[in-house]
Symmetry: C2
Subunit: 635 residues, 2 copies
Amino acid sequence: MNLRIKGGPEQNIPLKEGQSVLDALKAAEIYLTASCGGKGTCGKCRIKLIEGRARTDGAAKLTLEERESGLALACRTFAEEDIVIDIPENSRIVVGDKIAVSRAKDLLGLVSSMGGSVSPAVSGARVELVPPTIGDHTSDLDRLRLALEPLGLKGLNFSRDFLSGLGEALRTVNWQACLRHAGGSAVSLMPAGDCGKNKKFGAAVDIGTTTIVVYLVELETGKLIDAGSTYNSQIRYGDDVITRIVHATEGGGLDELRETALQDINGLMNATAQRHGIKTSDIELTVISGNTTMSHLFWGLPPGSIREEPYVPAVSYFPLLKGAEAGLSMNRSGAVYTMPCIASYVGGDIVSGVLASGMTRKEEIALFMDIGTNGEVAVGNNEWLMTAACSAGPCFEGSGIRHGMRATEGAIESVKITPGMGVEIGVIGNNQAKRVSARGICGSGMIDAISELFLKGIIDRKGKFVPRADAPAAGAGSIRQGDWGPEFVLFEGPSGAVTLTGVDIENILRAKAAIYAGVSTLIKEVGLDLGAIEKVYIAGGFGNYLNVEKAVILGMLPDIPREKFVFLGNTSITGAYLGLVSEGFLREAEEIASKMTYLELSVSPGFMEEYMSALFLPHTDSSQFPTVERLLEGR
Amino acid sequence: MNLRIKGGPEQNIPLKEGQSVLDALKAAEIYLTASCGGKGTCGKCRIKLIEGRARTDGAAKLTLEERESGLALACRTFAEEDIVIDIPENSRIVVGDKIAVSRAKDLLGLVSSMGGSVSPAVSGARVELVPPTIGDHTSDLDRLRLALEPLGLKGLNFSRDFLSGLGEALRTVNWQACLRHAGGSAVSLMPAGDCGKNKKFGAAVDIGTTTIVVYLVELETGKLIDAGSTYNSQIRYGDDVITRIVHATEGGGLDELRETALQDINGLMNATAQRHGIKTSDIELTVISGNTTMSHLFWGLPPGSIREEPYVPAVSYFPLLKGAEAGLSMNRSGAVYTMPCIASYVGGDIVSGVLASGMTRKEEIALFMDIGTNGEVAVGNNEWLMTAACSAGPCFEGSGIRHGMRATEGAIESVKITPGMGVEIGVIGNNQAKRVSARGICGSGMIDAISELFLKGIIDRKGKFVPRADAPAAGAGSIRQGDWGPEFVLFEGPSGAVTLTGVDIENILRAKAAIYAGVSTLIKEVGLDLGAIEKVYIAGGFGNYLNVEKAVILGMLPDIPREKFVFLGNTSITGAYLGLVSEGFLREAEEIASKMTYLELSVSPGFMEEYMSALFLPHTDSSQFPTVERLLEGR
């Protein structure tokens, strides 16, 4: 049997008996959004059957109307003859999307403000060898070893890759060489005259569950040359770490996941290097920062035990890898450091973040919050550190939300409800030059929408819709009855509406409750209260555009003086950059990891209570949110 | 254009413009004997043109008669239209041939006679880990590291391959493990109860220029389980190390050469393991022994500098490799040791040989001679060692000899000339059960033949034919005029004659002279004379069937009491075996290598004179060969 896509190339995609349309498309390298990894529970992999007969197993996530219009879930559709389908735009994964990378940060300023200096883990040693003669037939390697001994470099390791180029390299530099080495292994040879010159490069890599960022850096100066980012193509196997772990273990997809992210990283490394005429073999150092699951998948380590009690990862302190072993587009003998992880759900990205925040260098007690695909928090100062993972889930990335999507073109990113129940929305990519219609809502839009709905009394403290006489009967601003109960219409256009359902609001409240309960449990655990917190560092993709006022109204961020909040953006990549430009920061990251105490919230006695209390807007204990209470009184 | 082989499959082999028939056949994986690597100088890659037109560039190595019969050299034949060829049996490489491996040696007896014990470089440590709990979420690796510390195994290296199996392995053995490690790196985990049990295996590998031998060994007991051998398929790129170096450097064929020998080794490792139901992942240690060029090719190191003055190899002490890096059919984290090399033309095979001979453990002064594709000699005792390479060339393997071939079926291996000028020959594979006709002559046959011709006065001291009245006019025993001068007919059958030409005899005399001159120069260099030599260890494929009497008559071996000669066979594999079963022998091999002084004969002032004197039969200085002189007097 074959499948054809309407409007697509005239290509027939083979369909095997019993194979879902989702799997057949995947085999043809056409990827649909499938947050749940193809289990029929997220309802995102929608297709429209245009021609041919197909059996569909359950369609719980589709309305009667949608089903009648021919919509079906690709993961639950099994062809019975040749079929032709249409793929709605929302179902397609746009992995190739450019993601804007903030490069305005003064990274070198950060290095010096932290008292660090540019001193990367790869360094060069000048060696002068006596050329061989017929009377001195010492091999090239022994000749090099002899010259290295007085420099304190006895016992250096030499890889097969390094040795295969040694003979030619020594002769090219006429026996006067600069030997580059890292972590006790030889990396490369260049002319002695190039020692200390700006010839080699490094890559800082943040492997996020959703996005991957690469910084290409001059090793000698620490200067950021270029940055690139892309969606983590592992998304095609599920939105969150759990679905990926399941794919790796039960689906036998470990190698596939590793390859997928590796291709993304290499794509960025190749592209940035090429743009600046840099050979990837001159990239001699890479620092990887990612959560525990991403780090395991990058290494090709089975992640199964991460999600099984007692939640133990295979590795937390990762050995040094060589470029060739890692499979990265860099010098095959180059060094690859992986930021250490703390526990199954607190990874190298958090260690990077805490490092980049500088909180462990000060006496003041600070709170670090990374709100990304999941939510992790840390509290402490230069003496102690405690951390926890909040299991907030990826709803702020659009997963599990009826019209949820990532912060890309067409996403509602801000919402304002006017006194006359009108809805003003801001849509990403929509401006005077180009009209872009809303096609979904992203995390910041959700936070805006719920705090607005709450402040305007359209939802109550439990997040339930309150009937209002002044609401319009239809269109934006109306509350209508959908297939799964009531929903608030944010936008209605010719190609459909964007709504926020009661179920969506419940999901978002659960996520914000998990984050807030994580923070308050952690702070209580160390015997403090919120008043003791002198700084709140907000990291994660969110860190760039989170409206702190609205997030406090939602009860996601604590109600403390706003000047204490510092937005750091993506600290995982910043921490990786720091480790790249200075070996001292790599050591510091290891110290942070060894100092950090992990609190397992799932077995922490107070957590469940904190969580239940935080399910309300903003919180059951209104005294914790005094400014919000004043706002509500003033309505 | 296409090429078809008469009597072969109906397959058309494509021929490009300007591509030689040899190259076209090679591309189709049909390999012809081409000792010179396809330069038109060895005259071995003969084909017969049956149909079609082809241009031939020079045919110096063919007689007029041969040319008229359609014979041509494949490396010098360029088709001008579709052609059909026939490939004479002698031109085909029979790489798949089984080579008999002597396994009668009492290897374990050798180990104990040398005062060694079975104690391989991979060993197991019993570790008991505390299983993880929800309160102790230490990662698997940190848990293992903690348990290893008190055992003195702090700082062990862990490869990505090892770590990828760690989590499952620890859970399978229920946290009670036997950690196998070698050279400071973890290799595998097995149940604690299996510690010290006979579960793991090792491979000793001799990479000869002509043949490859693998011993599969039980690591715990040192017992030889099986042995396999095959021709080194690199033969298709040339017979000797020089043509292979040229192919690697000028022909860009380094990877090809590496892959070729690797496939041979892996084929033997897979076959022997499979025969005994052993998983190759249970092969945890391999010791490689080969000459300097073979070792470089195995490692994928450019061998170019080996043949360029001042003859410096890239590496002589090879670092430890992992199974995965080496590409061997064994545990990916297993250890691969490479026997150290001394100089460009004295390699790990000689270090292995000297180790296996035991000469460095005794006070008596011994001579070690390895006569294989080349010839290397060493002299010394437990205090000093000196070595040299003789550049004898591969003529005893059949290369450069008109009807030369290796010691396989159809080769004349012994020759006796009867008083009436009859010729009695012994042919390999010819016995009462099976009649095999002679199709060439191998090394031992050449030595026999020349000493017989000399003793019977058919050739003089210079190796020139002496006209004899009693010689038959034609057939075996006759001296006939060939295209390159006179030749002695050893055998004449329906499919042609096997002869020894005047040029062949010159080549053989040059080879024997190089070997003898190497020995005498070396002995003089250390200020001794032949009388000081108390043992002569003969190694190399030859070691098994060399007729010492005849070799002395030829003047290849020194004329010293016959009881001083000890035949050791293939000592390269024996030395590799010793290194495999005991780490102490690996250390001893390194000591031997560091102790061995290399004498570069090409710049040694006395060598040329010694060589010129040794070009005679048996030698210009007849006093060096008293027993031969007596024999000649007694004629």
